[in-house]
Symmetry: T
Subunit: 73 residues, 12 copies
C-alpha cells in the first residue's frame, strides 16, 4: 500500500451478527469515501431489550488512500 492512507472510526449495527454489523458500517462509509481498502475491529458491544440481544455493535477503523484532502475525510 504505497502512498499515505487515513483511518476513520465507524460503528456499524445489525440485529443479526457482528460480521453483518461490519458489512453495514463498510457499506455506509463507501457511500461517501472512495478507495476503502481494509478495516480493523476495535470493539464489539451490543444492546439488550426484553432479555434478548437487540443489536450487535462493532467499532471498526476503516483505511483508505488519501487523494487530495486528508482533512476532509
Amino acid at each position: 500500500m504505497p502512498g499515505v492512507h487515513k483511518k476513520i472510526e465507524i460503528v456499524g449495527t445489525s440485529p443479526l451478527s457482528f460480521s453483518d454489523a461490519v458489512k453495514k458500517a463498510v457499506a455506509e462509509a463507501s457511500k461517501s469515501i472512495r478507495h476503502l481498502e481494509w478495516f480493523e475491529v476495535k470493539e464489539e458491544r451490543g444492546r439488550i431489550r426484553d432479555g434478548e440481544v437487540a443489536e450487535f455493535q462493532v467499532t471498526i477503523l476503516i483505511g483508505f488512500k488519501l487523494e487530495h484532502d486528508p482533512g476532509h475525510s
Copy 2:
C-alpha cells in the same frame, strides 16, 4: 442511562458462531436478572475437537440497572 448500573461477566458458548454464543449468554442471564441493557465483548476463544471447531466461547460483560441489591446480582 441515569442511575447506577452493575456489570457481570458471563461466558456463552455455541457450536455455530461468536454471535450465537453471545445470544446464549444473554438469554441465560435474563432468566434471573431483570433490566439487562447492554453487553461488551471481552474475549473470544473456543474449543477444538477432532481438528474442527467444536465450540465458540465468548466472554461478555452484561450491564443492568441496580434496583435494590447490588450485592445479589
Copy 3:
C-alpha cells in the same frame, strides 16, 4: 488487607463530574454490601444531549471483604 476480598463492577452517573459519578456508585453499592474498602476506575464515558454533556459515566471496580458468601455479592 488480610483475608479474601471480592470486586464487583459498578457504573455510576452524574451530571456534574467523574468524581461525583464515583461517589454515586459507591453510595449505591454501600446500601447492600458492607465493608467496602476501595475502588479502581476502569472506564470513563458519558452521554451528550443537545450538544452538551448530559451525563458523566464512570465504571469502577469496588473491593470489599468476603464474609460468608462470595457468590451472593
Copy 4:
C-alpha cells in the same frame, strides 16, 4: 443506536478539571457536528507551569450518527 455512527478524537482543555475539559471539547465539537450522542475518555494529561497544574487535557472519542457523508465528519 440503530444506524451507522462515526467517532472522532478531540482534545479538550481546562484550567479547572478533567470534567470541565470534557465539556469544552464537546461544546466545541457541537458547533459543527449535529447529533453528538456519547463520548469515551481515552487519555488524561496536562501541562504544568511554575510548579502548578496550568491545564487539564482530556482526549475523548465523540460518537455521532452519520447522515450523509462520513468522510466529511
Copy 5:
C-alpha cells in the same frame, strides 16, 4: 465447557507466595459456590511492612457453571 458460565473477581492474600494466595482465594470462593472450573490471574500486588513483603495479593477471575441464578453468584 458447554453451557453458560460466570466469572467473579476475587482477591486472595498470603504471606508466602502468589501461588498460595491463589489457593486461598479459590478455597474461600468454593465455600459458597459449586462447580468452580478455572481461574485467570489479573493482577499481582502486595503490601510491605518494615521493609519486607508482608502479604502477596493476587486478583483472579474464577469461572464456574451457571445453574439457576447468575444474578446470585
Copy 6:
C-alpha cells in the same frame, strides 16, 4: 490439560464471517498438527473491495499438546 502445550499464531480468512474464518484456520492447521485443543482470538480485520467487505481475517492462537518436538510445531 496436564502436560506441556504449544500455541501457534494462524490467520484464517473467509468471505462470510469471522466465525467461518476461524473454522478455516483451524481446519488448515489440523492438516499437519495433531491434538489441537483450543483457540484464542487475537485480532479481527478484513479487506474491502469495491466498497464491500471482501474478506474477514481472524488471527487466532491455536493450542495443542506437545508430544515429541516443540521446535517443529
Copy 7:
C-alpha cells in the same frame, strides 16, 4: 496547548525507515490541514517482498488546533 484540538489517524509509508514514514505522513497531512502540532505513533508494520522489507508503514495520530469546523478535519 489551550483551546480544543483534534487528532486524525494517518498511515505513512517509506522504503527507508519508520522515521521516514512518519515524515511522509506528516508532509501529506500538512497539504490540507493547517496548524499540525504533534504526532503519536500507534502502530508499526510493513510489507515484505522477495524476502526483503519493501515498505515500512507507521500509523500515527496527528493533533492540530480546531479552528472553525471539527467535522471537516
Copy 8:
C-alpha cells in the same frame, strides 16, 4: 521540548476529586524538582470508608527537563 527529560511516578490524594488529587501531587513534586513541564494520568483509584469515598488517588507520571543529574531525580 528539545533536550532530555525524565518522568517520575507520583500518587496524589484528595478527599474532593481526581483533579484535586493531581494538583496535590504536582504541588508536592514541585517542592524538590524544578522545571516540571507536564503530567500523564496512569491510574485512578480510591479508598472507601463507612460506605463513602474517603479519598481519591491518582497516579501520574510527571515530566521535567534533566539538568545535571538524572539519577538524582
Copy 9:
C-alpha cells in the same frame, strides 16, 4: 544477544506453583531446541477441581538463537 532470535509460545503446567509450571515448560522445550536464552510470562491461569487449585498454567514466550532454520523451530 547479537544475531537473530525466535520466540515460541509454550504453556507449562504444575500442581505446585506458577514458578514450577515455568520450569516444566522450559524443560520440555529444551528437549528439542538448543540455545534457549530467556522466557517472558504472558498469562497465568489454572484449573480448579473439587474446590481446590488442581493445576497452575503459565503461558511463556521462550527466546532462542536461530541457527539454520527459523521455520522449523
Copy 10:
C-alpha cells in the same frame, strides 16, 4: 494512604521463584528508602541456561510516602 506517594520501578531476581524475586527486590530497596508501603507486579521474565530456568526476574513498582524530596527517591 493520605499524603503524596512515589513509585519506583525495581527488578528483583531469584533462582527459586517469582515470589522470592519480589522479596529480594523489596529487601534491596528498603536499604535506602524508608516507608515502603506496597508493590505492584509489572512484568515477569527470566533467564535460561543449559535448558533450565537459571533466574526468575520480576519487575515491580514500589510505592512509598514522600517525605522531603521526591526528586531524590
Copy 11:
C-alpha cells in the same frame, strides 16, 4: 490475502537503528521460509554498553502463507 497464513515471532538486532534491525530479522527468516508477506512490530528494546546504545532489538511478527505444513513453520 486469501488462504491461511501463519505468524512467527522473530527478534532482529542491529547496531544502527530499529529499522535496520527489522531488515535483519526479515532477511534471516527469508532464508528458510518462502512467501513472507508482512511484519508487525511488537516490541523495541536494546542493550547499552559503556554508556552508549550497543544494539537495537526489535521483536516482530512475520506473516507468510501456509502451503503444506503449518506445524513446520
Copy 12:
C-alpha cells in the same frame, strides 16, 4: 543479570530519527548513572512545526544495576 536493578523513565529527542532520540537519551543518562544495561521503548511521539516533523521524541525505560542507593537513582 543477577542482583537487583532499577529502571528509570527518560525521554530523548532528535530532529533525525527515533533511533537517534534513543541514543540521545542513553547518552544523557550515562552522564550521571553508571552500569546502564538495557532500554525498553515505551512511547514514540513528536512535534510538528510548519507542516514538517521538527522533533522525534522517544520515551524509554533504562535499566541499571543498583549498587548502594536505589532511592538516589
